[in-house]
Symmetry: C2
Subunit: 166 residues, 2 copies
């Protein structure tokens, strides 16, 4: 009986367990989760699992294609883009001890800039396009891309410390 | 007869002549004018004097107080803020030979950032607030403030050339 229950629950929750494991092993994914929870002033997501919180960041190519790139980026997508770059800033802060500012400028119908800086040093500079379709193939990809940007930012902070404090 | 005409025209156009003179002597004011004319694709301002073009940048304290800071910044004011920072970027480019990017982020009801950067170096960083009331006491003040920011940007470019090219 116990064996059956265990087996059945393993089968049913195979993907969720996997996702939770991926999040546990990625400091970047944990940083996004933290960003979302910190900004959850009304407790909307209090009972959501970390994996459920990150689910809207994952979009297949088909899903992306269905999203129109006409007009402005909707506030919920904007919120996700902010959370992504704030999480990068958080990872840079954790490793460099710097305080970072995040500026996301989405003025031209899905086009714009995402910038992270400290003092006079830009740690991350990304041009955004078709931001309406912001998303990643998988949790792993999301984690890798965020961590890669954070590491590059940390390198700049190490190479130009006097500019980051200017 | 000739003397009278000269006298009368001098009296009547005292302020305009003065304004034109101020613009002539300020490379920064000329840079704003250039920015506005470059972006005037429909030729709306073709027959306007430089002074008339810069007039909306000048607001008295009383005029500012009458402008509501509720809600978003209207597109025309945004355009003026862009022109101001693009002119600073142009002055930095003229003196440093760098190519500059301008990002103005006005997401929070008149609050935001104005950034000018080249490579990984921030040449200008300004926080904006009550941007609905963007304006200057006089042409001279506008010229001074813009030129001061440009000179500071040029100094950063000189001090950290390897970051500006990173």
């Amino acid at each position: 009986m116990t064996a059956t229950v265990t087996l059945s629950s393993t089968t049913e929750t195979a993907t969720p367990v996997n996702g939770a494991e991926v999040i546990k092993q990625s400091p970047f994914l944990q940083a996004i989760v933290q960003q979302i929870r910190v900004n959850d002033g009304y407790g909307t997501y209090r009972n959501w699992s970390d994996e459920l919180l990150l689910k809207p960041f994952i979009l297949t190519k088909q899903q992306k294609r269905k999203i129109s790139v006409e007009g402005d980026v909707d506030p919920i997508t904007k919120g996700r883009i902010f959370a992504f770059y704030r999480a990068i800033a958080l990872r840079i802060e954790q490793q460099s001890g710097l305080l970072c500012q995040v500026v996301v400028d989405l003025s031209h119908e899905g086009f714009g800039w995402a910038l992270i800086f400290s003092g006079r040093l830009l740690l991350t500079t990304r041009t955004l396009r078709d931001a309406q379709r912001f998303g990643f193939d998988s949790l792993e990809k999301l984690g890798e891309e965020g961590e890669k940007l954070a590491q590059k930012g940390v390198e700049y902070a190490i190479n130009f410390p006097e500019v980051a404090k200017a």
